[in-house]
């Protein structure tokens, strides 16, 4: 994917908000697929903190373990060894039911594709996690989120009546609407044209800056990565680099060295 949009200005004072508190943490996380000769170490003793109210980007070549790391931290996959914490909760101690409830109440998701339930309206999709919990959404907050992603006039539409960019905005709104501890985004712009992609990234940036949201995003696009406060580089299941206040060029340079 090529990008024509320019990266935004870096945030005013990175690392200052919330005094550097940690929203999520992987502690010596190890994930092994298969056994014996076919054994693959997707994560190899990875320890990393994700700071609160920060936009952290995970990058790395294909097969580096970046998606696995995100899935494990987000409670979608389980570790072979080590721990994952969301806030003070150790995910490795939770059963499926508790893990599901944790995802519902504490985590927001934006995926690359198929982010919405086709039978529900945009608004119903946005409030889905709360509806599943049987909770009423916070009206004021919902309004804020809906306005942030410019969705007010599309709320009654079904996904099939929305463009790809609009669908992804609904997904972002859903991820934010329940005020989760942390939002995970897995290549959220992967299926979008560059303009829509830039729009989505802009909303996510604003969510961090204006709403104090914590976001972790996996991408392989240096331009998208430049929207973050910090980029963590993975290769062969290990963290190989860590870059604060990234620019697209800086990220591209690091990527080149990693792939070389």
């Amino acid at each position: 994917m090529s990008s024509t949009s320019s990266p935004p200005a870096a945030p005013a004072s990175p690392g200052a908000a919330d005094g550097g508190a940690v929203a999520a943490r992987a502690d010596r996380a190890t994930k092994v697929y298969g056994k014996g000769d076919t054994e693959v170490r997707a994560l190899d003793d990875v320890s990393v903190d994700f700071a609160r109210a920060r936009f952290t980007v995970i990058m790395g070549p294909s097969g580096s373990g970046k998606s696995t790391l995100m899935h494990c931290v987000a409670g979608l996959d389980t570790l072979t060894g080590g721990r994952v914490l969301i806030g003070d909760t150790d995910l490795t101690t939770l059963d499926d039911k508790r893990l599901t409830v944790l995802r519902r109440d504490k985590i927001g998701f934006v995926f690359q594709a198929f982010n919405l339930v086709p039978t529900l309206t945009a608004l119903e999709n946005v409030t889905l996690p709360m509806a599943l919990a049987g909770r009423e959404p916070d009206r004021a907050w919902l309004d804020t989120v809906v306005d942030t992603v410019h969705l007010r006039d599309r709320l009654a539409h079904r996904p099939s009546e929305l463009s790809g960019g609009q669908q992804q905005r609904v997904a972002v709104a859903r991820a934010l609407a329940s005020r989760p501890e942390i939002v995970f985004a897995d290549e959220p712009t992967g299926n979008l044209d560059s303009r829509s992609g830039a729009e989505i990234l802009g909303f996510m940036r604003r969510a961090v800056d204006e709403l104090g949201q914590t976001i972790v995003m996996v991408t392989h696009d240096p331009v998208a990565a430049a929207y973050g406060d910090r980029v963590v580089f993975l290769a062969d299941g290990r963290i190989v680099d860590d870059l604060a206040d990234p620019t697209a060029d800086a990220v591209l340079d690091r990527m080149k060295t990693l792939e070389a």
Partner: protein, 844 residues
């Protein structure tokens, strides 16, 4: 292309199997029906071959009238035996008696149930060994008129041994005898469920037939005289009202008669097999429609790389053939087990027909295969054609194959429904008969199934309306899912519609029948007690019972109620006979013209409506033909209004006695004296009926209950048989849900990722299933209501005076359907809940 199709098939073994089951069960039922009726047929073939093995020729009365139910013949005089014996070429001859006689067991109960099951015979013990299919196993042949031989089966059922005293119920009343011997029928204990008590010839004539008469005379030919020669010689000598038949022809006639009556079972059971296959065909259609929709891209790709339309069509049909072959072969084999199950089921409902060994004929195999494969292929043809029409360009874009031509389809379905209703009405109210009714019903089912998609969305939405409030987001999603693909929801529901439609129809029909009978009894029966034999053809109550009751001081009036067949003005009719002097004190006939007092052995009373249509007035002649006496001209002496008990033509018992060979009361109606309490009268009546264990004493309420119980029993049997159709429909719902879940893998993965618990997901699947089931039930109830109404109205003149819709029972149907929907969702729900979230959301 074939190899690709087969490869794809093996990759989806589980689906191949679950789809096959829908047809498999129908084929198994059909195969089971065939195996059972073939087995029964062979059992009877052997029985009759053995029974007449030594007979070279038989002399009997000519059949004057015959109907589907029975052939009535007059007896031949005993002198015929001498005539036959003296005919050159006859080695031996003997007269035979066979008629109703029922043994009373040690427990005081009558053995056997001739009203419902196998007959209970009284016979004479043949003295000519060649003419006797029985062999004495213990004791001796009857030496005196107080001696009887029982076959071993009857002896066991009665708990009687050689030397034991025994009571036998006969036309002349209960008879006390002694068991002198026990016999086998060839090597068998008995004659396949029928009971046999064998007297001396004189005693048999006295109790079972008539003194000086035999039912048949059997002859054995001398060596060198063929059966045909013997028949010709005898025919020249016997009286004019007798006929001669060869032993071979007699055996064949007996075999074909029983086969004809077995055909009723065959048709009855076959109907349910057809229903099951019909339901199965909906499921095949639906499954293939979904598969084709899901594989639209794959097929477009095939087309894009050069596969022809025919090849794509062929690839889908290969799968249908595979489903059909698998289903037919397994179903055919399962039929053997089904046959045993059906036999046990019928026996459980009192219909015990002997069937020994297993007859699996080539006909069964061929019919099963052809039907199974045929149903599968024909049902898959429409989806396959749709698949072949996928344009190659569809490979390049997302498509929904399943969205074309809903308007044309609706018009065609509407025409089907209208045609079905029309044919059904002609069948019911015109002369087109049962075939038209069946065809009309099938057309209506197809038509309504085709119309289903039109109202699937609104009705499913309505049914699911309370769900969001009851089950929150899980309920909302269930409702939305049931509405998202109206065609799929409709055709899945259609399978259940058939079973529910028939259940609702039969429920309404039975309720109307019960109500009509109740009202009829209320209207017409003004007496106090009914003594019922439970039999309407073979045997019944000895007239001595009515005579004994009439002598009771506690009783004011008694009449026997006899039933017989005769040809009236060219058409075979059932006639009733009563005592004209007493009947009006017990039964309200509402005589409008003439008087019952004028009835004698040559006259008849006619129901008013019949008299009007036939233009009959008092004093007019009515031509009647009786089996025993041939043509008789009867004079109309009374015209009555109420057909409830009297029927169309009512004879005085004197006329019945003059024209029928056997004299049994099917029932005896009793009115007590006014100055006696009901309890005292009952006690008195009970003392008289005591020695007749085949008599059931009922007051009016019990009489009604007994009638209702008979209907309920048949109803229960039909419910059990219809359960199969409902069960197959449930498999269909489960199959559709499973395919839908497969299709929605990523959507479900997303839901799980954003916090839907497994329990919530199961709830969603469960309620989607319930909505589909209730939608099918709704369609079924509408159809059943219509069918029930149409049939009841068409039988208005046959005594169906009320149309009753029993709300409680129909509500039960709805509840059961909802529960069934829950059960159908268990498997798919578990599968959905077990989805690996990561794999579900992993893009491409």
């Amino acid at each position: 292309m074939l190899r690709i199709a087969l490869k794809g098939l093996l990759a989806r073994k589980l689906r191949l199997f679950t789809t096959s089951i829908a047809v498999l069960l129908g084929v198994a039922f059909m195969s089971g029906t065939l195996v059972l009726t073939d087995t029964m047929g062979r059992t009877f073939d052997r029985l009759f071959a053995d029974a007449t093995a030594g007979t070279d020729a038989a002399v009997r009365g000519k059949a004057v009238i015959s109907s589907d139910f029975a052939i009535d013949r007059d007896r031949v005089p005993a002198s015929v035996v001498e005539t036959v014996r003296r005919t050159p070429g006859v080695k031996a001859a003997e007269g035979f008696v066979a008629g109703y006689a029922q043994v009373v067991g040690k427990d005081g109960k009558a053995v056997g149930n001739p009203g419902m099951g196998a007959p209970t015979f009284g016979r004479n013990w043949p003295t000519v060994a060649a003419l006797n299919p029985f062999r004495l196993a213990e004791g001796t042949a009857p030496a005196s008129n107080e001696d009887v031989v029982l076959d071993r089966y009857t002896a066991k059922e009665a708990g009687a041994g050689v030397g034991d005293p025994l009571t036998v119920l006969t036309e002349r009343g209960p008879v006390r005898v002694r068991v002198s011997g026990i016999a086998t029928f060839g090597d068998a204990d008995g004659t396949g469920g029928a009971t046999n008590v064998m007297f001396t010839s004189a005693a048999a004539q006295r109790w079972v037939a008539a003194p000086g008469a035999f039912d048949q005379v059997g002859a054995v030919a001398e060596d060198g005289v063929s059966q045909e020669e013997l028949r010709e010689r005898l025919a020249a000598r016997v009286p004019g009202n007798a006929e001669v038949i060869t032993g071979k022809a007699l055996t064949e006639e007996n075999q074909s008669t029983i086969r004809k009556s077995l055909r009723f079972f065959n048709t009855f059971l076959f109907t349910f097999a057809v229903v099951a296959l019909l339901v199965g065909s909906f499921i095949i259609y639906n499954t293939f429609s979904i598969i084709v929709a899901q594989r639209g891209r794959e097929m477009a790709l095939m087309r894009a790389v050069g596969a022809s339309r025919r090849q794509v069509l062929g690839a889908v049909l290969v799968e249908a053939v595979a489903v059909g072959v698998l289903a037919s072969v397994l179903g055919m084999l399962a039929g053997v087990a089904v046959a045993a199950g059906l036999k046990a089921l019928l026996a459980g409902f009192g219909i015990d027909i002997p069937a020994g060994g297993i007859v699996f004929s080539a006909k069964t195999a061929i019919l099963s295969l052809v039907t199974g494969v045929g149903v599968s292929v024909v049902s898959a043809l429409f989806p396959a054609r749709r698949a072949s029409k996928v344009p190659p360009i569809a490979a390049m874009r997302d498509l929904a194959v399943e969205s074309t031509g809903i308007r044309r389809r609706t018009i065609v379905a509407g025409l089907f429904t209208a045609a079905g209703v029309a044919v059904l009405m002609v069948g019911l109210f015109g002369d087109a008969g049962a075939g038209a009714v069946g065809l009309g019903a099938v057309l209506v089912f197809f038509g309504v199934a085709g119309l289903g998609p039109v109202f699937a969305r609104p009705v499913a939405g309505l049914i699911g309306a309370p769900l969001p409030r009851l089950r929150g987001m899980a309920g909302t999603l269930a409702r939305e899912n049931s509405m998202r693909n109206p065609k799929r929801t409709a055709s899945t529901a259609a399978a259940l519609m058939i079973g529910v439609g028939l259940v609702a129809f039969i429920t309404i029909f039975a309720a109307s029948a019960k109500q009509s009978i109740d009202e009829s009894i209320d209207r017409a029966f003004t007496g106090d007690f009914v003594v019922d034999s439970g039999s309407f053809g073979f045997g019944g109550l000895s007239p001595t019972l009515a005579a004994d009751l009439a002598r009771l001081p506690e009783v004011e009036a008694v009449t026997g109620y006899r039933i017989g067949q005769a040809e009236v003005e060219g058409a075979t009719k059932f006639l009733a006979a009563v005592d004209p002097r007493t009947v009006e004190r017990i039964v309200d006939l509402d005589v409008r013209q003439g008087s019952l007092d004028d009835l004698d052995a040559t006259s008849v009373a006619v129901e008013a409506e019949t008299a009007r249509t036939k233009g009959l007035a008092i004093g007019d002649p009515v031509r009647m033909t009786f089996a025993r006496t041939g043509d008789r001209t009867m004079t109309v002496r009374a015209i009555f209004e109420r057909a409830d008990i009297g029927g169309q033509y009512l004879l005085p018992i004197s006329a019945y006695e003059a024209n029928f060979a056997t004299q049994f009361d099917a029932r005896v109606f009793v009115a007590k004296s006014d100055d006696v309490s009901a309890a005292d009268a009952r006690a008195a009546v009970e003392r008289v009926t005591g020695p007749y264990p085949n008599a059931k004493l009922q007051d009016q309420t019990q009489f009604k209950e007994a009638q209702a119980a008979q209907i309920n029993q048949l109803l229960a049997l039909i419910y059990v048989l219809l359960f199969l159709a409902v069960f197959i429909a449930l498999l269909g719902i489960a199959n559709t849900l499973a395919l839908s879940i497969f299709e929605r893998t990523r959507e479900l993965g997303l839901l799980r990722a954003v916090g839907m618990t497994r329990a919530q997901l199961r709830t969603t699947v469960r309620w989607e299933s319930v909505i589909i089931a209730l939608f099918g039930t709704f369609l079924g109830l509408v159809i059943g209501l219509f069918f029930g109404w149409a049939l009841v109205r068409s039988l208005q003149n046959e005594g169906f005076t009320s149309f009753v819709v029993p709300p409680g029972q129909l509500l039960t149907v709805v509840v059961v359907a909802a529960l069934a929907g829950i059960v159908a969702a268990i498997g798919p729900g578990r599968r959905a809940a077990g989805l690996d979230v990561l794999r579900a959301i992993a893009s491409d």
